[in-house]
Symmetry: C2
Subunit: 361 residues, 2 copies
């Protein structure tokens, strides 16, 4: 049983298929593959689990593979270059399709390689983590990290299709499941109070991987993301709302060293900090902030930045984030739970107070 959503981007429109058993089904790919050669890009954790069934599903094509090390610390230019090594070693021309099999790191690196190989070839996303299924595989943002900042080098390159097989979540470590829930909660916080209430009452099912609950959460998340991306593909405006918690979060990821924190964990803490700042600006009430922190905590996620990352270090790291325009830091904050805004009207003292505010639940 599967469902299909559409990301409506004119000539670059594509479907998101969500359901059980999709990964091993040749029909998931047949309408989308271009050319007769496929390069699967995956990592050492995912390959033993899903590379064989994927290759069998693609047995009508000439399939090659490149297996990268697993983790955010490998989302580097050097590791990215291994994809080109493999493509050129095997003499891939332009008439091919890349397939990203894995989580957000694999999707970002494979998508960015597809954007740049011979100035652009098509690719398909086969996300195997909750985070990738609800967020990073949809919308065409691809890229790699630079030591000075996350996702600093990249491209907008939309996939031909997203094949989200919910069965793959059965093998996902609990920590990664929670990390994905951070992005699921984000959609509720920025845009959908009703979904947020649903998440609140179904968190236990989600954490115990009830297939119906997960399917609903993935579908609703992708619906919201697809809508926002269709309205603002290149992030000229409201797509920035999807970055709730990300300016703080990226600073935590960079400060702790890439790979030490999962992206979703850092976003969870960043969301708590954005709520703290929203409260200081008079937009959220105490009870809203508490409700938000409780939800994040119940999802198995951290709510405090690492103790050894000082407010000054955070400021320094945040100053190079992409969301800094013209020297002004822009923040995604909450007017209420279910409504986000983008603002650059945050004075330094208020920001500093948030960075210095370390409370425990």
């Amino acid at each position: 049983m599967s469902q299909t959503l559409n990301v409506d981007l004119g000539l670059r429109s594509y479907p998101i298929h969500i359901g059980s058993g999709l990964l091993a089904d040749p029909e998931s790919y047949r309408p989308h593959v271009r050319g007769d050669r496929i390069m699967i890009v995956t990592n050492e954790t995912v390959a033993p689990l899903y590379l064989d069934p994927l290759e069998q599903a693609l047995s009508d094509y000439r399939v090659s593979r490149v297996v990268l090390p697993d983790g955010e610390q490998y989302k580097t230019m050097e590791v990215w270059n291994r994809i080109f090594d493999a493509l050129l070693q095997e003499r891939f021309g332009r008439d091919c399709t890349l397939v990203a099999l894995g989580g957000g790191v694999i999707g970002d690196m494979a998508g960015f390689a597809a954007a740049c190989y011979q100035r652009g070839v098509p690719f398909i996303q086969v996300p195997t983590t909750l985070l990738a299924q609800v967020d990073s595989s949809v919308g065409g943002k691809t890229g790699i990290n630079h030591p000075a900042g996350k996702n600093m080098i990249g491209a907008f390159h939309q996939p031909l299709a997203v094949i989200a097989d919910t069965d793959t979540l059965e093998t996902l470590p609990q920590k990664e499941l929670s990390a994905g829930l951070a992005e699921v909660l984000k959609y509720g916080f920025i845009r959908d109070a009703a979904f947020l209430a649903w998440l609140e009452s179904h968190m236990a099912e989600l954490l115990s991987r009830d297939p119906n609950a997960l399917s609903h959460a993935i579908k609703r998340s992708c619906e919201i993301k697809a809508l926002i991306v269709a309205e603002d593909e290149l992030e000229a405006g409201q797509r920035a709302l999807l970055n709730l918690g990300h300016t703080f979060g990226h600073a935590i990821e960079a400060g702790a060293g890439y790979g030490a924190w999962l992206h979703g964990e850092a976003v969870a803490v960043g969301t708590c900090m954005a709520a703290n700042l929203s409260q200081r600006l008079g937009w959220l009430e105490d009870k809203d902030v508490e409700r938000l922190r409780r939800l994040i905590s119940c999802a198995g996620l951290p709510t405090e930045p690492p103790a050894d990352l000082s407010p000054d270090q955070m400021l320094e790291l945040m100053a190079v984030d992409k969301k800094v325009l013209d020297g002004k830091m822009r923040f995604v904050l909450l007017k209420e739970l279910g409504e986000a805004i983008v603002t650059d009207e945050v004075d330094r003292d208020t920001l500093y107070a948030t960075l210095a505010d370390r409370r425990s639940l």
Copy 2:
């Protein structure tokens, strides 16, 4: 005195300004710069000649610079990454403009960095070689080399403007002037028999850098390129005609080691080989091929591949070129002088005969 052409690409349209004194004139840039910060990307040869006057012309903005080593052998991922190091070191946000000051290598690397920095920032081309002014700065092809093939990693990213100051050609080494003429001749061979006749009768003036002759050659070359690019921005069809001599040429550049041959020199030899192949297919007559070789030779360019590059090595190197689709090599060949076509109907024996045919004029 200057002239302006337009590259007509809808929202991505931009002007090419051609003339004397443009580089040092603030008005060349004012209508185009975005944001208040500029990163000039240049190399160690060009910087001592033109960095100061360019920085003075841009003195209304906050200007930074990154100076790369000079030569095709440095068009690598590692050197490209130094542009990101500089941008991040100086905390450039998205609201900035990159300026490429130099020849084709600088334009390709700076343009590709602009395509990828924070998923895309604008850039301006300030070409200082004849080759860059007539060809590489126009049309939005950007990229870097991989050890296995030239321009294998890149993007289509159109500049905001091309500022071609003909005065910069006064400092150009003779070898580089000739290399640029290889691309000028190309436009005549593929599309404009009248221009070809004009080039034939004005080669001496061009080689002695007569400003009027150079201006006319640059303008006519850019007109033809702008027309072709406007019709086929992403090289789905006839833009490939601009690659006359390039499949052979790229193999020579890679085979000799990047930097050993200038790109234009390799293209000159590649054009002779394309003519040889066109003759074997019955399209060109002996006298056409001789006329083509004589013109290339008169421009101070080589007409024979390096003696130590065997036909088999050439074949091997050509097989990874971007113009290979689906295992089939595509060639840009000449139906007559002034008309090119793209074909994949070249049998291996005929190709091999061309690769093995080493004649001297």
